[in-house]
């Protein structure tokens, strides 16, 4: 595995008095108990980095348990942040700095830390009881486990209690401010503006005066502590990245999906209906959309996954954009209804925020193993369109694209996100409203000669006539439909014809989607790395590194998986070898081999974690 040492803060930085040492990227991981406030600490540092002009990518790592017993290994929650003066596309392979709020956080995260990296740990928690809960028989500070790391043991709890003692806040709440003390140290270490974070703190806690005062004191005390004690010999600076000018915000994938579907429905001038049943890691889409009633969005928390999809299909019948969202186990339950949407040719969109499977699997961990489920997971010949966003912010763009396809072709669309995209965040250049694509949707209103299954000659879409329209009354259903009239038909030739028409309709989507672009050498080369969905950042970064060393490798990334872009076969034919890295056991590989009868090699990982850049880089080197 390759570690970018030139970019890591492992060397001595400048001391507190001299100029900070300039590095081009840093990866920090904050880790502690679920209740230690690691997510907010991470998001505060992210905000500060954004204001400092860095490029950023972040990824939280939640335990599946909500509040596992304090101090235990299952209760550890983490937040990783990569910030850089260069363009970055992933939250970073291996952290260089670990903030560990207790022994369990140290134990869980130490194996990921770069050898020689920096550890800041809360020494107040390294007591017999906590060590035992973390499974340490001896104090790791004394066993040599931490040898070779740059360890700073700081009594974070007691220093925080001391710092906030005059605020009148309760002992319990005072102790909770220790994450801000740790953040203060980190802000000093990376030569950051304390004011910027205090500004955000005012916005977040400003109304709760005592809480705000205590957190402010803890943050400032942490900053001053680092400045004063002179044990932190390294101070670093990460400069501004060259970002396209504009106004930015951080977007997590699920949040981007929420904005995208609300915006897409507005662009289509149709109401958005979201039927969903809570499931990790998709629930935040339901929560998010429930806040958009002022855009006419109606959310329906259904009694189960089937009711969720059923209600969305019912809403689509009624003229709304019918959206449902879930994760893999939920898609399994929705399969029959998705078939009904395919048969009735209604614009249904199914979000699958994929997680580790099979069965309940790894609810909070990422995987891409539902591609073949999306493709084939229904009874009968039942093709649907499939799109997959490639980065957290791309969840916005592909939401609009899903609405465009569903309404233009009157077809169900599967939208394959995953746990990594859902919770990962990156800066998003806020677009101008007028730059968003238009979506033209027509409803049939003319009763003259109306036939519910008479197709548009270009798209093969059937007309969308909705209840309330006089003269176009008709009946839909899951039984096979007679061509044009839509009446129930058991005629053998008709069934064959309708099966072919439904397939042809999905194929024709390729006429309106962008061609597959090659990053690298469009005219061909030794290796093409073909990816889909959330692996975009890791693949592109790996390809860039190898190309920087002169390797003839290129990449292409699929955001449309059914149908594929029209030129895919042509692109694949230009390269000697095809490598397909996926967080599954080779599902796109299976489709590519089956469809084009070509040799391709897979790189397959199912560990609930995204690819590290180094893993893909190594595989490319093997193939070159």
């Amino acid at each position: 595995m390759v570690v970018e040492t030139q970019a890591s803060p492992l060397q001595d930085g400048g001391s507190g008095d001299s100029d900070p040492k300039v590095v081009d990227k840093v990866v920090i991981r904050f880790a502690g108990d679920s209740g230690d406030g690691m997510q907010i600490t991470g998001s505060f540092f992210t905000h500060n980095s954004a204001l400092a002009g860095n490029d950023i990518s972040t990824l939280p790592d939640f335990p599946a348990e909500i509040r596992a017993p304090a101090g235990t290994l299952p209760g550890v929650s983490g937040f990783q942040l990569n910030f850089s003066s260069l363009q970055i596309m992933t939250p970073g392979d291996t952290p260089e700095v670990l903030v560990a709020m207790n022994p369990a956080a140290l134990k869980v995260n130490l194996r990921d830390l770069v050898r020689g990296g920096t550890i800041i740990l809360n020494s107040d928690t390294f007591r017999k009881n906590n060590l035992k809960k973390a499974g340490y028989t001896e104090d790791p500070r004394e066993t040599g486990d931490l040898e070779g790391y740059n360890v700073h043991a700081v009594p974070l709890t007691s220093l925080t209690l001391e710092a906030v003692k005059d605020t009148g806040i309760s002992h319990k709440l005072a102790g909770r401010c220790k994450n801000m003390f740790a953040l203060g140290i980190m802000l000093w270490m990376y030569d950051r503006s304390l004011e910027a974070t205090l500004g955000l703190m005012t916005k977040k806690f400003g109304k709760m005066e005592e809480v705000f005062e205590a957190n402010k004191k803890a943050l400032t005390a942490g900053y001053n502590y680092a400045d004063t004690v002179e044990v932190f010999t390294g101070r670093f600076q990460v400069g501004k990245a060259k970002l396209v000018p504009g106004t930015y915000r951080m977007l997590m994938g699920n949040q981007a999906a929420v904005l995208g579907f609300v915006a897409g429905a507005q662009l289509a001038k149709r109401p958005l209906f979201y039927g969903s049943y809570p499931i990790t890691p998709a629930s935040s889409i339901l929560e998010g959309l429930s806040n958009f009633k002022h855009f006419g969005v109606k959310t329906f928390q259904a009694e189960d996954e089937i009711a969720a999809v059923g209600s969305s299909i019912g809403a689509a019948f009624g003229g709304a954009i019918g959206l449902t969202g879930t994760s893999g186990p939920g898609v399994a339950l929705k399969a029959e209804a998705i078939g009904l949407a395919a048969m009735t040719e209604l614009p249904l969109i199914v979000i699958n925020v994929q997680r580790g499977g099979p069965s309940t699997g790894l609810p909070t961990k990422t995987e891409q193993a539902d591609l073949l489920q999306a493709m084939f997971g229904r009874n009968g010949e039942c093709p649907v369109a499939i799109v997959a966003p490639q980065s957290p912010a791309d969840c916005f763009t592909m939401a609009i694209e899903a609405i465009r396809i569903a309404t233009k072709y009157m077809v169900p669309v599967m939208y394959l996100s995953d746990g990594y995209l859902a919770n990962g965040a990156e800066p998003w250049s806020i677009p101008e409203v007028e730059d968003l694509p238009g979506i033209e949707v027509k409803n049939a209103t003319d009763p003259e000669g109306f036939l519910p299954y008479q197709r548009d000659p270009e798209t093969l879409a059937r007309p969308w006539a909705i209840p309330g329209t006089p003269g176009t009354e008709h009946r839909l259903g899951g039984l096979e439909k007679q061509e044009n009239t839509g009446n129930v038909s058991y005629d053998p030739e008709n069934h064959q014809k309708m099966t072919l028409l439904r397939a042809e309709k999905v194929e024709r989507i390729a006429q309106s989607i962008p061609e597959l672009e090659v990053h690298g050498d469009p005219d061909g080369g030794d290796v093409l790395v073909l990816g889909w969905g959330s692996t975009y950042g890791s693949i592109t970064s790996a390809v860039n590194r190898v190309r920087d060393r002169g390797g003839r490798v290129s990449s292409a990334h699929l955001r449309h998986l059914n149908p594929f872009p029209a030129n895919i076969e042509e692109v694949l034919g230009k390269f000697k070898k095809i490598l397909i890295p996926e967080l599954n056991m080779g599902q796109l590989l299976f489709l590519i081999r089956a469809r084009f009868c070509i040799e391709a090699e897979g790189l397959n990982k199912v560990q609930g974690q995204p690819f590290q850049i180094g893993e893909i880089e190594q595989k490319i080197e093997e193939l070159l």
Partner: protein, 354 residues
């Protein structure tokens, strides 16, 4: 709430001219000859013009949604918007449709297998939420479309193709289930009693909220005569009691029998032999206390002489799910930033790169 669209004078005139034919589709009805479904379809097609005229609903605002089973072919025969969905799930499609389009009148047609077995969960929750749906449950106590297996309402010991030694399942009582699910309108009627059936359809249509109607429906092929012992015209007056709000519970061809409570047990008293009418139970469909409705839902089980009640067991006014959600949306849309796309995109913490 979404205001009911004003009808034009032409539309009002059009509605005034509705007749049975306008609600009859061009599809050939394919139920078995003699099936109870024919009677229900005929009453529905006959009653819909009256319902539309009474409430000012144009035909295009009526939708009929069904699941799977014999009864679920119903939408194909109604010349309205219709949706023949998947097994057990009709309430879900209907809920989505009604919630997104509150101005529509949405009917659900389902059967005992569809609503109480595979779709039990959806029935419970649609009723609990009080979505404004009119749910017609055709209860024939058998699986007809799959050719004669016992259903969740079949009596224990029923010999069918799948239970040659007799079923060991205990049946479910649809009305008790609906009441437990807090249904705001609960009624029962019989396919062959066309007049009563039509009156119940009208009552359900007037109800704002989820209306649940159990219709005893004879399957003359696989479970013929399932309700004969009380639904047959010859015995109906003596074996059934028609519930009427505010009226003492009297039944019998000669109106000579009544229902009185003996402790918590309903008993039949003979009015001809001196029983006092003032001691009889008085029906109250509007009481929020579910005790009376629950008691009536199981009246025939009390003893051999207690009759089977038909009519409206319960009819409560309660805000509907679709109405409440619509109000929330309407309130939210009064916000100054409602529908502001630029504000949508630029929400949260932002920063500028020069």
């Amino acid at each position: 709430m979404t205001a009911k669209p004003e009808l034009s004078p032409e539309k009002i005139k059009e509605i005034e001219e509705y007749d049975r034919k306008i609600f009859t589709s061009d599809q050939i009805v394919r139920w078995c000859p003699g099936c109870g479904d024919y009677s229900i379809l005929a009453q529905m097609q006959k009653t819909m013009p009256e319902i539309c005229q009474e409430q000012g609903i144009p035909r295009e605002n009526v939708a009929v949604v069904s699941g799977i089973g014999c009864s679920s072919r119903f939408p194909y025969y109604m010349n309205t918007y219709g949706f023949h969905s998947i097994h057990g799930r009709a309430p879900t499609f209907a809920s989505g449709l009604k919630i997104s389009r509150p101005e529509l009148q949405v009917w659900v047609v389902t059967g005992d297998g569809d609503a109480l077995s595979i779709g039990g969960n959806h029935l419970i929750h649609a009723l609990r939420r009080n979505v404004d749906l009119k749910i017609l449950l055709f209860n024939n106590r058998i699986y007809g479309l799959t050719k004669g297996q016992y259903s969740p309402t079949s009596e224990q010991g029923k010999k069918t193709k799948s239970t040659p030694q007799g079923s060991v399942d205990y049946p479910i009582n649809p009305l008790s289930l609906a009441l437990a699910a807090e249904a705001t309108f609960v009624a029962r009627t019989i396919d062959a009693d066309t007049k009563h059936l039509a009156s119940i359809l009208k009552r359900a249509a007037r109800h704002k909220g989820s209306a649940f109607i159990e219709i005893y429906q004879n399957c003359n092929i696989f479970n013929d005569g399932a309700f004969k012992s009380f639904a047959d015209k010859k015995v109906r007056d003596d074996r059934t009691i028609v519930l009427e709000h505010g009226q003492p519970m009297v039944f019998g061809k000669e109106k000579d029998k009544g229902i009185r409570l003996d402790g918590l047990k309903p008993v039949v008293v003979d009015l001809a032999n001196g029983a006092d009418e003032s001691s009889l139970l008085v029906h109250d469909e509007k009481t929020t206390d579910p005790t009376l409705a629950n008691l009536l839902a199981r009246l025939e089980e009390a003893d051999e002489s207690t009759p089977v009640p038909v009519g409206v067991f319960r009819a409560l006014d309660k805000p509907t799910y679709d109405g409440l959600l619509d109000e929330q949306v309407a309130t939210a849309q009064e916000q100054p930033n409602a529908g502001d796309m630029a504000a949508l995109l630029a929400g949260g913490e932002t920063w500028t790169v020069q």
